[in-house]
Every structure is written in structure tokens, then in C-alpha cells.
């Protein structure tokens, strides 16, 4: 399983766009990139997943460059309720387990 590296913490203000970058230099050909969000006292929640280029859903966008050695989760116009820990994971379609790191703690200020 590829190891991921992400910033420990980030601060932002309401209404700003937040970009969290994850490094995964040893990503394998069949690996997908997945992001989870975790609020205090809750289990993580799936946000978005991608393999290459760009993926967008109602919550976020995921940008993956051609070499796939990194990825960026983009949260548009964050609000206070986006304050959470965000985890980046990589694994292939046949992976039966995921390894969570310590994640990035995002704090959104008014």
C-alpha cells in the first residue's frame, strides 16, 4: 500500500477555497486516490475518489496530475461546518483494506 503524506493542519476563513495536497510518490498503476472527512466524535465519511485528471462532485473536487504522485482536494467556499480532519488514502480496486494516516486538520474561522 502506497504511503501518503499530507500537512498536519491548515487554517482558513469562511468563503475561501481550501486546497489540501497529498503526496503519494509510490502510487501503483492500479491505485485509486480516496479522500475521507471526519468530524469530532464521528466516524470518517467518504468524500471523493479519483484515478487521474479531475473529479468533481457536489462536495469537492479532486485534482490529479499526470504523474499521479500527488493529488489535491479542493473545497470551494468553505464554511465553519467544514472544520474537520481530512484523510488521503491510496489503494487499488482489489485492495481489501485501507491504511489511514493522521490526516490534515482543517480549521475554518469566521
Amino acid at each position: 500500500l502506497a504511503k501518503t503524506t499530507q500537512p498536519i493542519s491548515m487554517d482558513s476563513y469562511e468563503g475561501q477555497e481550501v486546497n489540501i495536497t497529498c503526496s503519494h510518490n509510490n502510487i501503483a498503476t492500479n491505485d485509486y486516490i480516496t479522500w475521507y472527512q471526519q468530524f469530532p466524535s464521528q466516524g470518517p465519511r467518504f468524500i471523493i475518489q479519483g484515478y487521474k485528471t479531475k473529479v468533481t462532485n457536489e462536495v469537492a473536487s479532486l485534482f490529479i496530475p499526470a504523474d499521479r504522485k500527488s493529488s489535491t482536494l479542493s473545497l470551494p467556499r468553505v464554511s465553519l461546518s467544514d472544520t474537520a480532519v481530512y484523510y488521503c488514502l491510496v489503494g487499488d480496486q482489489n485492495t481489501d483494506k485501507l491504511i489511514f494516516g493522521t490526516g490534515t486538520r482543517l480549521q475554518v474561522f469566521p
Binding site: Y32, T34, S41, Q42, G43, P44, R45, F46, Q49, V85, Y87, G91, Q93, T95, D96, K97, L98, I99, F100, G101, T102, G103
Partner: protein, 111 residues
């Protein structure tokens, strides 16, 4: 939310006693997982199951055992609880390991 429940939600127990945590799903998902979460460590995989009676170890399996006799239930047992096992325990389910759904968590305190 995915149909996944954990019981108990909170438990305080003494060192050396056995403890069993239960995860129950109504989604008929193939995979089930037990994680623990501690400050500074994020989520760590304890054990997981890829089918009835099929289980495997995760990163931090020492001191824990699991059983899955039915698709819907995945039990985590601490044979002899220690203070180092004080943690929040999360169960997760999935059809594909890449997208997991997590339960509400069980806060276990071992005194």
C-alpha cells in the same frame, strides 16, 4: 447513512476483564473492519473480514480477536483488556475497500 450500528456506545471496564464489541450491518456488505483511533495516531486497522468466517489481521491486531459467523455481525474481543486499549473503536463496512462506511464508534475506557 449506511445501516451500521455499534454496541455498546460507551463502556468502562477494568484491566484484565474480557470485552466484546459488536458491529451490526443491514447493508449485506461483504467487507467489515475494526479500527481504533487514538490522539496523534489517526485511524489504525485492527482486523477485517472479507466474508463469513474469513478474517485477517490489520496493523495493530495484538491483544484483539474477531469473529464473523453471520454476514451482518462482526465482533471484536479483547480477551484481557489493558489500559493501552483505551480508545475509540470504529467499525466500517464496504463492498469495495475503497469506499467504506463507518459506524458511530464505541468509546472504551479500561481502568
Amino acid at each position: 447513512d449506511a445501516g451500521i450500528t455499534q454496541s455498546p456506545r460507551h463502556k468502562v471496564t477494568e484491566t484484565g476483564t474480557p470485552v466484546t464489541l459488536r458491529c451490526h450491518q443491514t447493508e449485506n456488505h461483504r467487507y467489515m473492519y475494526w479500527y481504533r483511533q487514538d490522539p496523534g495516531h489517526g485511524l489504525r486497522l485492527i482486523h477485517y473480514s472479507y466474508g463469513v468466517k474469513d478474517t485477517d489481521k490489520g496493523e495493530v491486531s495484538d491483544g484483539y480477536s474477531v469473529s464473523r459467523s453471520k454476514t451482518e455481525d462482526f465482533l471484536l474481543t479483547l480477551e484481557s483488556a489493558t489500559s493501552s486499549q483505551t480508545s475509540v473503536y470504529f467499525c466500517a463496512i464496504s463492498e469495495s475497500a475503497r469506499e467504506q462506511y463507518f459506524g458511530p464508534g464505541t468509546r472504551l475506557t479500561v481502568t
